[in-house]
């Protein structure tokens, strides 16, 4: 394995070299300092490398320009482009310029770097690739194939149970977007397909700052897709990183979530699957709900079969576990479980199996908050009451409670609730 590492920072070059050698001890790595050397000339043996790792800021050069020049060469190997966090437009431009993968530099871990290089150097016809890698390669191929009017699908960035997620961009202005392509096995399931398509119609109706913006949906050949807003700030799961956040920050996120619930409930929609992965942050720090894959119109006939339980066990309300008819209070409960996690850094309930965790929501009293968080005890109790009759009835009640009890800790709402996005 031969790797060319182009970065103006000595410490980054050292670190990435070490990561690579920890996986491929015999790797030959050329550390290329753009502060000392110009863009590789035509005589430079670029084709002798398997992968080029190229930073987007090169001190006295622009990584994107270098990328374009290198990619014009017929002997150019795969290029992994390093971008800044929260600046996805650079990633969009890099992918359009021919980068084969990108990683956010500030979030680049040993594991991510190795996975990326492994993917770039994998031979798809080899029989030895792992099932995970084979699935990723299949995802890349699908992304390259799908055609959506006005949208360029650029790169596979995630895989969920029902859909693959791609970085995409609007062709006319490079605006970063997300395209979700439903998995084929789900498309064959008529009910799941209906749920996916309902996500579009539900979210389009909401038009709130607190809900992910949807830009289109449809089918390409037999692939159902959804085009939506890209969130530079990542999700709450990433923000928490397995730890608690400061109580004032937890309260701020929680209140934003309440505004979001207020907006969707006002339209008669329950989310039913609140979890950290479904709460996304924009670059300005505002929060929005995504993934309405199992959301459902309160007034619609319940398509959920008898005894079928949807949602994520860690955040399920007791009535959801029981498969009972749901109302706004199910989302209030799940939001309470999320608040507990934000305040303590722990899950409210743990267990060996999903069923065990779900049953705790039904039968086990929530663990008390640590002593330093006593101020939040009453709020928590009213959010996660097992008896929904004793719970807050709706998001407005919660917001009123927060305003009375924690007024000094809360910023003004950044956006008027009545103000809608065009």
């Amino acid at each position: 394995m031969r790797i060319l590492l182009i970065d103006d920072d000595e410490d980054l070059r050292n670190l990435l070299s070490r990561y690579i050698r920890s996986q491929w001890s015999d790797a030959e790595i050329e550390a290329y300092d753009p502060l000392e050397r110009d863009l590789p000339e035509a005589t430079f043996a670029l084709g002798s490398y398997d992968v080029v790792v190229l930073d987007y800021m090169l001190g006295r050069g622009d990584g994107l320009e270098w990328l374009k020049v290198l990619k014009q060469r017929t002997d150019c190997p795969k290029i992994l482009f390093l971008t800044g966090a929260g600046n996805e437009i650079i990633a969009v431009r890099a992918m359009k310029a021919g980068a084969d993968d990108y990683q956010r530099k500030q979030e680049l871990t040993r594991e991510k770097l190795i996975a990326s290089i492994r993917e770039l150097t994998a031979n798809p016809v080899e029989r030895t690739v792992s099932p995970d890698l084979a699935a990723r390669l299949e995802g890349h191929n699908l992304g390259a194939k799908v055609r959506i009017p006005g949208i360029k699908v650029l790169h596979l960035i995630g895989e969920g149970g029902t859909a693959r997620v791609y970085l995409a961009s609007r062709e006319n202005d490079d605006e970063p977007l997300v395209v979700k392509i439903l998995r084929q096995e789900i498309v064959l399931n008529q009910k799941a397909l209906e749920r996916f398509m309902e996500e579009y119609s539900l979210v389009e109706r909401i038009q709130s700052r607190h809900v992910a913006r949807i830009y289109g949906h449809g089918n390409y050949q037999s692939h159902a897709y959804l085009v939506m807003e890209f969130f530079e700030g990542g999700d709450l799961n990433k923000r928490l990183g397995g730890k608690a956040v400061a109580p004032s920050e937890a309260l701020k996120f929680f209140r934003e979530l309440m505004f979001a619930l207020g907006d969707i409930h006002e339209k008669g929609i329950l989310h039913r699957d609140l979890k950290p992965q479904n709460l996304m942050f924009r670059q300005d720090g505002s929060l929005a709900i995504v993934d309405f894959g199992i959301a459902k119109n309160i007034a619609a006939a319940d398509r959920t079969g008898a005894g079928e339980v949807l949602g994520t066990p860690r955040y399920m309300s007791p009535e959801q576990v029981q498969g009972r008819a749901l109302d706004l209070r199910t989302d209030i409960y799940s939001a309470g479980v999320l608040l507990y996690q934000m305040l303590t850094g722990r899950h409210m309930f743990d267990g060996e199996t999903a069923m065990e965790v779900a049953m705790h929501h039904l039968n086990t009293e929530p663990p008390p908050l640590p002593a330093g968080l006593a101020d939040y005890e009453r709020l928590m109790e009213k959010l996660v009451e097992k008896d929904r009759e004793a719970r807050f009835r709706n998001a407005d009640e919660v917001i009123g409670f927060l305003s009375r009890k924690f007024e000094q800790d809360l910023p003004a709402r950044p956006f008027d609730k009545t103000q809608k996005l065009n």
Binding site: D11, N14, G84, Q106
Partner: protein, 101 residues
């Protein structure tokens, strides 16, 4: 700053890289000071940006945080804030405790 901000955990196999990393950070403080004295905000912005990128990568989250503040301060030309952040960076480097796991 909290006491915990001064504690950093680094993977054992990176231990031999840390002396160079720390030496470069100390040099960075001096370069920041010179850039501030010359009111070279573009260089301050670039240095802040580099700190932001390299700090987290090595597990020094506070270096990244200070890098962001310095980058933002350079963009707005806020000399007083920049001076304070550079002083904090210097103090941080003097006090940081590194554990290897």
């Amino acid at each position: 700053m909290n006491e915990s901000d001064y504690k950093v955990t680094v993977a054992k196999d990176l231990a031999d890289l840390i002396p160079v990393f720390m030496r470069n950070r100390r040099k960075e403080v001096e370069t920041l000071r010179v850039a501030l004295a010359a009111a070279d905000f573009e260089q301050l912005r670039q240095l802040g940006h580099r700190m932001k990128g390299v700090g987290n990568s090595y597990g020094f989250a506070h270096v990244s945080t200070l890098g962001k503040y310095i980058e933002d301060g350079a963009r707005s030309g806020d000399r007083a804030s920049l001076q304070a952040w550079i002083a904090e960076y210097d103090e941080y480097l003097a006090k940081v405790q590194i554990a290897y796991e």
